[in-house]
Amino acid sequence: MAKSNKPIFWSLFAAGGTLAAFLAPVLALLFLMVAMGHAPAVFSYANLHAFAANWLGKIIILGVITLFLWHAAHRLRVTLHDFGLRQDAIVAIVVYLTAAAGTVLTVVYLLRI
C-alpha cells in the first residue's frame, strides 16, 4: 500500500495544536472580556488597526489564524470519523477547503489593512 499523505495535514495539526495550547486560552480570555463589556485596550480600533497594519503584527495574525484553522480542520476530520461519519474523502475535502478559504480570506483582509 502506498505511503500516506497524511503527514502534511498532521504536521499542521501538530503545529496548530501546540500554538493553540499556548495561546488559545489567553486569547479566548481577551474576547471573553470584550463579551462582558470590558474590552481591553488593544481592542480599540486605533490600537488593533495599528497592530494589524504593522508587518510583524500581520505575520503573527496570519500565523495564529492559519495554524488554528488547519489544526481544527484535521482534528475535525478525525473526530467526525470517530463519530461514525465514515466518508473520509468527502469530509477531508470539506474541512480542508474551509481551512484554505479561511487562510485566503485572512491574507486578503490583512492586505487591506
Binding site: K6, W10, V78, H81, D82
Partner: protein, 250 residues
C-alpha cells in the same frame, strides 16, 4: 497453621459453540476460590470441577507469555493478572474484544499474527557480519533507546482496547507498529525503509488518533501509544525530507 481464606466467586462467562450456537450466550458459574487467586485460577476451578467443556487459552500464569488475554468486566486483562480481590459481585468474563470468537474464550488471532509478520519484527542488520567477524556491539544507552518497546508479550490487549482497530479492522494496530518502532530504534538495524512501507500507510500509523487506550491496558508498560506518536513524528520528517531535500530521505 493459618487457614487459607476461601471465597465463593460468581462468574458470568460468554460461551460460544460454533457447532451448535448461532450466537454467543452467557453462562453462570459459582465456584469456591482462594482469596489470593486470579481470574484464571477461577476458570481452572470451573473447568476442573464444574464444566470441562469451557475453552480458553493460558500458559505461564505469570504475565509473560501473553496467552490468557480476555475481557474481565469489560476491560482487557490477562486473566492471570486479574486478582479476584479487586472484583466484587458477579465477574463477567468474555473473549478479547475486536477479534472473532473461535470458541468460548478463544479468539481468532490470525489478523494480529499476519500484521506482526508484515512489519518484519526482527533485526535486519545494517551491515551483515559473519560469525567470525564477531558480535554486533551496542552501548547501554543504545539499548535503552528501544528497550521499553521490546517488552511486548504480544498479548493483544492493546488491540482489544483500541477503538480505531474496532472500527477499521485493516489498521495494523498498536503492538505491531510499536514493535516495528523497536527495531527501527535499534542501532544494529538497517531495515527501517522496509518497515516504513508497511507502517507509514493510511492503515498503518495514520489510522491512529492517539486515543491512548492501548497504553492504559498494556500489562508490560510498553506504551505503544507513545511509540506510535514517535513513528508519526519520524514518518512526517521523512515525508518532508523526501520532498524537500535533493537526495530524498537518504
Amino acid at each position: 497453621m493459618t487457614q487459607l481464606k476461601k471465597r465463593m466467586v460468581q462468574l458470568e462467562v460468554l460461551r460460544y459453540d460454533p457447532e451448535k450456537d448461532t450466537e454467543p450466550r452467557f453462562q453462570k458459574y459459582e465456584v469456591e476460590c482462594n482469596e489470593e487467586w486470579v481470574v484464571l485460577d477461577a476458570l481452572n476451578a470451573v473447568k476442573e470441577s464444574l464444566d470441562p467443556t469451557l475453552a480458553y487459552r493460558w500458559s505461564c500464569h505469570m504475565a509473560v507469555c501473553g496467552s490468557c488475554g480476555m475481557m474481565v468486566n469489560g476491560e482487557p486483562k490477562l486473566s492471570c493478572h486479574a486478582f479476584l480481590r479487586d472484583y466484587e459481585g458477579v465477574i463477567r468474563v468474555e473473549p478479547l474484544a475486536n477479534f472473532p470468537i473461535e470458541r468460548d474464550l478463544v479468539t481468532v488471532a490470525d489478523d494480529f499474527i499476519d500484521k506482526l509478520k508484515r512489519v518484519k519484527p526482527y533485526l535486519i542488520p545494517k551491515e551483515k557480519k559473519t560469525i567470525a567477524e564477531g558480535e554486533y556491539k551496542q552501548t547501554p544507552a543504545q539499548l535503552m533507546k528501544y528497550r521499553q518497546f521490546s517488552m511486548c508479550i504480544n498479548c493483544m490487549l492493546c488491540y482489544a482496547a483500541c477503538p480505531e482497530y474496532a472500527l477499521q479492522p485493516k489498521f495494523i494496530g498498536p503492538a505491531a507498529i510499536a514493535l516495528a518502532h523497536r527495531y527501527n530504534l535499534d542501532s544494529r538495524d538497517g531495515g527501517r525503509d522496509e518497515r516504513q512501507e508497511v507502517i507509514a500507510t493510511d492503515v498503518g500509523v495514520w489510522e491512529c488518533s492517539f486515543v491512548g487506550a492501548c497504553s492504559e491496558v498494556c500489562p508490560k508498560a510498553v506504551d505503544p501509544a507513545g511509540a506510535l506518536q514517535q513513528v508519526k513524528v519520524a514518518s512526517t520528517l521523512d515525508w518532508f525530507k523526501e520532498r524537500l531535500l535533493p537526495g530524498g530521505s537518504k
